[in-house]
């Protein structure tokens, strides 16, 4: 699989809009500014995934992309444990980050993932005038690569590479870090390109 320049650009722009909305929703919830990196779009060979996704422990919240394309792929929020604990503290008014992840943290991770990803998919879908909805979330707190394997296994039975859209959200105070990964299946990707193409020609 290879992306031409137009496709990579279009996808980056689409993801940019989605990620900006996710960042805004996070910022509103935390009442503090959130910075966002320029999104990256990459085609990654499954054998190289371990060079791309590390094996540090992280909270991984996964959503299947549903809607007009029944099984469009996956969208993932990945956060370090300290970030999750900080977010729980912010929401509950508690303090102290030097502790183990508990059930409250797990609920917080899922809730924050939900809010961010709903904003992400809403914004992109609205732009394209289609319906894209997140499935109920699934959570793993484990080596990031181990969690991604299960997702890749669902996507790469017949193909050997995966398209990954990635952007990072950060805040300095409180020190918070999160990554958003979108892994569209080829069918959804094709649909996105067609819609983006229409959008560009109609506005040109």
């Amino acid at each position: 699989m290879e992306l031409d320049l137009f496709q990579a650009d279009a996808l980056r722009e689409l993801g940019n809009i989605g990620a900006a909305h996710a960042a805004t929703s996070l910022s509103q919830m935390l009442m503090s500014p959130i910075d966002m990196t320029v999104p990256e779009v990459q085609v990654v060979d499954i054998a190289d995934m371990h060079n791309y996704i590390g094996n540090e422990i992280a909270a991984i919240v996964v959503f299947q992309i549903q809607g007009e394309v029944a099984d469009g792929g996956y969208i993932v929020v990945s956060m370090p444990q300290e970030t999750v604990i900080r977010l729980t503290n912010l929401m509950l008014g508690t303090t102290g980050v030097d502790r183990e992840i508990n059930e409250m943290d797990q609920s917080a991770a899922i809730e924050i993932g939900n809010i961010m990803i709903s904003a992400f998919l809403d914004a992109t879908a609205e732009l394209l005038e289609i319906v894209m909805l997140p499935s109920p979330p699934a959570l793993a707190i484990d080596m990031a690569h181990a969690a991604f394997e299960s997702i890749i296994a669902q996507m790469a039975g017949d193909v050997n590479d995966i398209l990954i859209f990635n952007t990072e959200l950060t805040s300095e105070a409180p020190p918070i870090y999160g990554g958003i990964y979108m892994l569209p299946k080829p069918e959804l990707m094709q649909q996105l390109f067609t819609l983006l193409d229409d959008l560009m020609t109609s506005t040109a």
Partner: protein, 164 residues
Amino acid sequence: MNNNFFSEKTAVILGLGELRVGTCPMGTIGLGSCIALILHDQRQSFGGLAHIMLPESRGNRDRPGKFADTAIYTLLQEMEGGGSTVSAITASVIGGASMFEYSANSLNIGERNIVAVKDLLGDVGIRIAYEETGGRVGRSVYYWPEKKGRLIIKRADGTCVEFS
């Protein structure tokens, strides 16, 4: 990702769907639902490792390490080519975790991988010397064919086990 686990320069980390037979140290990092299948020949001090992703190849042939069925036969074939006999080979099976809570769907493929690998090993008559499968924990595996098949498994919760 840097991996300083192996001090040896010849060590290889096998990614998703990769497979290797030889004498060099081998490993996989961050196993989730996938399986690390190690076939070890104690007499010849060599062996192979496959980072298996799915139970059945369904006709896919380009990456034999990716599927349980093609991985086992390819590992065996390459080891027999190197002078091993089935009777001298033992297997270690690690991984096949179900990583996600609150997930009713297909993300939990680990169990199917475990069944497929163990059934196939039974079919070809290879004894399982060590098995650590299932659960909800990610694992990293390191294997030294030349050091009596020394094996280290590092779990996501920080615990570590070693065999030789």
